[in-house]
């Protein structure tokens, strides 16, 4: 081989190497982009919108005719899915049910031998909480905003507001809710409901 031939061959090798490098880099980059999309959803599901007890939630949501994403969002906002959550006022568990409310629910469901302790059990808590949510939706004309406000502030309070402020069945101006906590609760639950829908209800 002449010296010139060697030089040309080396040059060709280099060019090939260069293309090979570009190709590999391209593949890596595309994989990364793809992964990050995939990862983004996984990370969101795992850290920001987790969904443990999904089976229970779906089962009792269906049984009571409630949107399961709405129920999941209520749990997220009430307890971040922690079954041992307890509020300073004594609300218990995943759906933060007050012992008196639990007692009342048990009477409505004609279940004997209720003790507040039972609300620490995730399945019972979800069963009671979702039943109560369905009951509130019915009481407030299927209006999610009023039902959620009642879940947070109490049904009596919401009836009082409706009377005082002349809210109608189709009430939808969340900004008129007098309690800041309740107002923000309703906004957040509705927002998170959409998140649960988009992340978990397969298109």
């Amino acid at each position: 081989m002449t010296r010139l031939q060697t030089i040309i061959m080396n040059k060709r090798k280099k060019t090939r190497k260069k293309y090979a490098f570009l190709f590999v880099a391209g593949v890596v980059l595309m994989t990364l982009v793809f992964c990050s999309f995939y990862e983004f959803e996984t990370v969101q599901k795992k850290y920001f919108y987790p969904y443990p007890y999904k089976e229970f939630v779906e089962r009792y949501a269906e049984a009571n005719g409630v949107d399961s994403a709405l129920a999941a969002s209520v749990i997220m906002n009430e307890s971040k899915f922690r079954p041992d959550a307890k509020s300073h006022r004594g609300a218990i568990g995943l759906m933060q049910i007050m012992p008196e409310t639990g007692e009342w629910i048990s009477v409505q469901l004609e279940e004997e031998r209720f003790t507040p302790d039972m609300l620490h059990d995730p399945e019972t808590n979800i069963r009671y909480g979702i039943w109560y949510l369905a009951e509130l939706r019915q009481e407030f004309y299927g209006n999610d905003i009023l039902a959620l406000a009642a879940y947070n502030a109490g049904r009596g309070m919401v009836h009082e507001w409706m009377e005082e402020k002349k809210w109608k069945k189709g009430f939808h101006s969340i900004s008129e809710i007098p309690y800041a906590e309740t107002r923000e609760y309703v906004v957040k639950v509705l927002k998170n409901k959409e998140k649960y829908q988009s992340l978990y209800e397969r298109r």
């Binding site: 009596g156 309690y179 800041a180």
Partner: protein
């Protein structure tokens, strides 16, 4: 969890600040006026105290909720009753606020805004890690208050003068938000204060 005490004169625009901190930065919002209402709901501690002191006849409406008009009459006509109410309600509100803060902490909130109109007057500034005071000029304050609460000038002035002078609040505050300008100017100050809050 960082606790921001938010205060300022009546009608100074505190809600502009709390709203932005909640909506943009996700800070929990705990409102003292609301806590005062909540402790008077049927079965709650202040409701019980009213029933105990004035009897169901005078304290309650037919549906079991407080008869605020009837109680208001008693309280305003009688300074001793007013003193009694202050002495029992302040600790109860404080307890409710502490409970709410604990709830937020347990749920992993990074920051909470403790919205207390009379934070300095009742001496609760130690509940917060830092205190933000929102203020507007007396002219703007008067105009806003008259419009918002439908008050005569005299009544509005009464309300304003019953509070601690603004200058003193400003002097004691960690952050002062001037709400005299437009919304953009207020927002800029809020963002700056928020960033500084978390770089300390």
């Amino acid at each position: 969890m960082r606790i921001i005490g938010l205060t300022g004169g009546i009608a100074s625009g505190k809600s502009t600040v709390s709203k932005r901190l909640h909506e943009l930065y996700g800070a929990a919002h705990i409102d003292a006026d609301e806590a005062a209402y909540r402790i008077a709901e049927p079965g709650a501690p202040l409701w019980r105290l009213f029933v105990e002191r004035y009897g169901k006849e005078k304290a309650l409406k037919e549906d079991g909720t407080l008869d605020r008009a009837s109680i208001g009459k008693i309280i305003f006509a009688n300074p001793d009753e007013r003193a009694w109410l202050d002495s029992v309600s302040h600790p109860l509100v404080k307890e409710e606020l502490l409970g709410k803060l604990e709830d937020c902490r347990r749920l992993g909130a990074e920051a909470a805004v403790l919205d207390v109109p009379l934070l300095y007057e009742v001496g609760w500034e130690n509940m917060a890690d830092s205190v933000w005071v929102v203020y507007v000029s007396p002219e703007t304050q008067l105009k806003r208050l008259m419009e918002r609460n439908n008050l005569t000038e005299e009544l509005a002035l009464d309300r304003i003068s019953s509070q601690m002078p603004l200058a003193e609040k400003k002097a004691r505050a960690d952050v002062v938000i001037d709400n005299n300008g437009d919304l953009e100017s207020t927002n800029r100050q809020i963002d700056k204060a928020w960033n500084e809050e978390f770089s300390k």
